[in-house]
């Protein structure tokens, strides 16, 4: 059974999409026509450039509506739903789960590593206050949370995690320019492995541009992207720790 879908504007299967983009050409009739032809060149069957404006002498901005006839069978789509919202336990449920299955406070260490100075992600997950009315890990009765903040070298994070006998390590990476996040995350796992410590911690990466797939590729146990709350991360850690304990 196939279930082909197309973008929906105001009628089933009309295939309408909105686009906005900048071209490095002066604004004017030629720029607008170039924009229209470019959109058609991308495979759209129709395109109307509804707005254009000069951004400077040499750059121009376009808003366009285009039509596509390409559809997709959504039944054939598989997504990375490892930590889909809704699948996670609440804070109280995590605490109860840890109390029942681990029976002690779980130690979680988190940091932004490398030169990344953006603590917004790690703070949203770890700080008492949390984010958007979801409390952070510091608030969890069964979690002892250590937020090391920003610009923490990987070596220091590992030393700290060893010193406090961490169960899990969280790394947040917000800056992704020139793939610096991949470099930082890879270096962390390599250092852990060199020290023979990889098996000791549950390792979790997070950040707006980090998905589970990328994190797994880089050797982490999980990755959390946009829209993640503390209870998503806590649920994963709790379940993973129980799984690890069972495997021993």
């Amino acid at each position: 059974m196939t279930h082909i879908v197309r973008p929906y504007g105001d009628t089933q299967d009309d295939g309408k999409v909105q686009l906005s983009f900048t071209l490095p050409v002066p604004e004017g009739p030629r720029g607008r026509e170039a924009a229209r032809l470019m959109v058609l060149g991308w495979g759209f069957t129709e395109c109307e450039v509804v707005h254009s404006a000069a951004l400077s002498d040499d750059f121009s901005f376009y808003v366009a509506y285009a039509t596509t006839d390409r559809g997709l069978d959504v039944d054939q789509v598989t997504a990375d739903e490892g930590h889909a919202p809704g699948a996670s336990l609440s804070m109280d449920e995590v605490d109860a789960f840890l109390g029942a299955h681990i029976g002690r406070k779980v130690v979680v260490v988190g940091a932004c590593t490398g030169f990344d100075a953006h603590t917004v992600g790690i703070d949203a997950i770890m700080n008492m206050k949390g984010y958007n009315h979801r409390y952070g890990l510091e608030r969890y009765r069964m979690i002892q949370a250590h937020n090391l903040g920003a610009q923490v070298p990987n070596e220091r994070l590992i030393d700290y995690a060893e010193a406090v006998d961490a169960d899990a390590v969280l790394i947040s990476q917000v800056v992704t320019q020139k793939d610096v996040h991949v470099h930082n995350l890879t270096e962390f796992i390599e250092l852990l492995e060199a020290k023979g410590l990889r098996g000791r911690f549950v390792c979790v990466a997070g950040g707006p541009r980090i998905g589970n797939k990328l994190a797994l590729e880089l050797g982490f146990d999980a990755g959390f992207g946009r829209g993640t709350y503390a209870n998503d991360v806590a649920t994963f850690i709790a379940r993973k720790l129980v799984e690890k304990a069972a495997a021993v």
């Binding site: 400077s56 750059f59 030169f115 100075a117 703070d123 206050k129 958007n132």
Partner: protein, 541 residues
């Protein structure tokens, strides 16, 4: 500016008294200390520039030599640099080349003290003379193009990592209507204990602040200023481990604004608090002398803590930043106190609380060019909602008479701004601010209403908070996490080893000239009590 909130004058005066009491012991400590970067900034203003073969800047080479030599830095770096000029008979540029090639200023026997001081006076005249010419040039252009900027000033950021790419984006931003262009620094730079040399084309999330990059961007914005007949201000980040050196470079290259907070480095970059307080003082004296407007960083409190609950920490920090700035000779009209619109959009009447906070800042700091920062924390990938949030921000800013308006980006939560993102920000801001141009004059706030009640509550809570800090002491208050929920140990953080107690023979002709020029009391010798406190508005009494 008409006062509309009926804020308690007694409470405002009390908050200023408390801020003076809280900062006094810190300023006493500052007076007795220098740091590696204070000395390097001094050298830069005396003419030290360039870098050795491995990229180590000449000011670092000199300071590192002196630190390793007997006596270290306790007498300052100026004496040895001036001495080397005397001993070699070279000018600063040639001496810098020699130092870059390995010449040791630390080893040359000291010449006659009077001769060294004469050389120092000549170098100060040359360096600060250049700073004064930059200041005069800015003033002349502001007068020539008077009335052509927006109110508030529209502030845009570029951050490509490549200074030549930054130039394209900055010129486009200026043509679209920006009054201020800030070049964000690469994320690593605040923790470097040196300033890289030359033009740079690689950076992460920003571009290195170097003197050459400053010069390149200044020239590019001057070009647009002439074409548009509108003076475009250039801004950079005077923070991190090289705060005073960035100030020196900015003063020489005619930057107009500097992000320059008294505590930001401590709280958000984990730089040692003693080091930060010493560095911020000297950097602010340079900024004051150069006529540079500082922007303080209170917005950062609100991205870390809750903006509704912790609003009083912003006001408290504004009072402290003001006092530290007055002590460095900055007049109120150059103190761009920061704040931000970061309350949870789900709070009912949240925009009224934001208006209350912004109007309160305006009334308590009437002459200060307040710097207002847009929503970031609750921005998501929903760019359409993002544009609406920014429009509300534009309205609150205009309605409360803010001075420096950092334009929000609809793609804030997604990527560094696209060219078209800045364009949309300028277009929508112009529309909102023109449409509500006289709103502030038209509207009064109701007695007992949400706005007046909220402002009075925040002010009262701020006074109580400052009382608490005074009892604890500022350093202990920071240690206990009273600001931004961040705890920083006094002896922790980066850069403490670069702090130096001034010795009995400490000599800094740049500091002496800055103090004289700013009407501040002369630097006191180590341990001498009784430095004159600046007057209530920062001018010398």
């Amino acid at each position: 500016m008409r006062e509309k909130l009926g804020l308690s004058k007694e409470q405002i005066a009390r908050a200023r008294e408390l801020a003076a009491a809280v900062t006094a012991p810190v300023l006493a400590f500052v007076a007795d200390h220098t740091s590696v970067t204070v000395e390097r900034a001094t050298l830069r203003l005396l003419g030290a520039d360039g870098a050795g073969a491995d990229g180590v800047p000449v000011p670092n080479l000199v300071v590192d030599q002196l630190r390793a030599a007997p006596g270290g830095l306790e007498s300052g770096a100026a004496e040895r640099y001036c001495n080397a000029l005397l001993r070699t008979g070279l000018g600063p540029a040639q001496l810098d080349e020699r130092i870059a090639a390995g010449y040791r200023v630390a080893d040359a026997p000291l010449a006659d003290a009077a001769a060294i001081r004469t050389v120092g006076a000549e170098l100060v005249e040359a360096g600060l003379g250049r700073v004064r010419r930059a200041r005069d040039r800015r003033q002349a252009k502001l007068e020539e193009f008077a009335g052509r900027n927006h109110e508030p000033l529209l502030y845009l950021i570029v951050a490509t990592g490549n200074i030549y790419e930054d130039v394209k984006q900055a010129q486009a931003a200026a043509l679209q209507g920006a009054d201020v262009v800030a070049v964000i620094r690469t994320t690593a730079q605040s923790l470097l204990d040196y300033v890289p040399f030359g033009a740079t084309t690689e950076g992460f999330g920003g571009t290195y602040a170097t003197q050459e990059n400053f010069r390149i961007m200044r020239a590019a914005l001057d070009e647009v200023s002439e074409r548009e007949r509108r003076y475009i201000r250039l801004t950079n980040y005077c923070s991190g481990l090289c705060m005073p050196e960035i100030a020196a470079m900015g003063a020489l290259e005619r930057l107009d604004m500097m992000l320059n907070d008294s505590m930001y480095g401590i709280l958000f970059r984990d730089i040692n608090m003693y080091r930060t307080f010493v560095d911020q003082m000297f950097s602010r004296m340079i900024n004051a002398y150069a006529g540079i407007t500082i922007n303080t960083g209170e917005d950062n409190y609100l991205t870390t803590s809750d903006a509704f609950e912790k609003a009083y920490t912003v006001l408290a920090s504004q009072f402290l930043n003001e006092r530290f700035a007055f002590a460095a000779g900055l007049p109120a009209r150059r103190i761009g106190l920061g704040h931000a619109m970061e309350m949870d959009p789900a709070i009912p009447n949240g925009l009224l609380y934001e208006l209350a906070q912004a109007q309160m800042a305006r009334e308590i700091f009437p002459e200060h060019p307040l710097k207002y920062m847009p929503p970031t924390k609750f921005k998501s990938g929903d760019v359409f909602q993002g544009l609406v949030m920014d429009s509300m921000f534009n309205l609150v800013s205009k309605a409360s008479g803010q001075s420096i308006h950092l334009l929000g980006m609809l793609t804030e939560a997604i990527h560094t701004p696209f060219l078209m993102d800045r364009f949309l920000a300028v277009q929508t801001a112009k529309y909102v601010m023109s449409g509500w141009a006289a709103f502030s004059d038209e509207v009064e706030f109701r007695d007992g209403g949400i706005v007046k009640t909220r402002a009075a509550a925040v002010l009262a809570r701020t006074v109580a908070f400052l009382e608490e800090i005074r009892q604890l002491g500022l350093l202990d208050a920071i240690e206990r996490g009273l600001f931004a929920d961040v705890c920083r140990p006094k002896d922790g953080g980066k850069g403490l080893d670069g702090l130096v107690a001034k010795g009995p023979a400490y000599w800094n002709p740049v500091e002496d000239a800055l103090r004289a020029g700013l009407g501040l009391a002369p630097a006191r010798g180590p341990g001498q009590a009784g430095a004159r406190a600046p007057g209530p508005q920062g001018e010398a009494p």
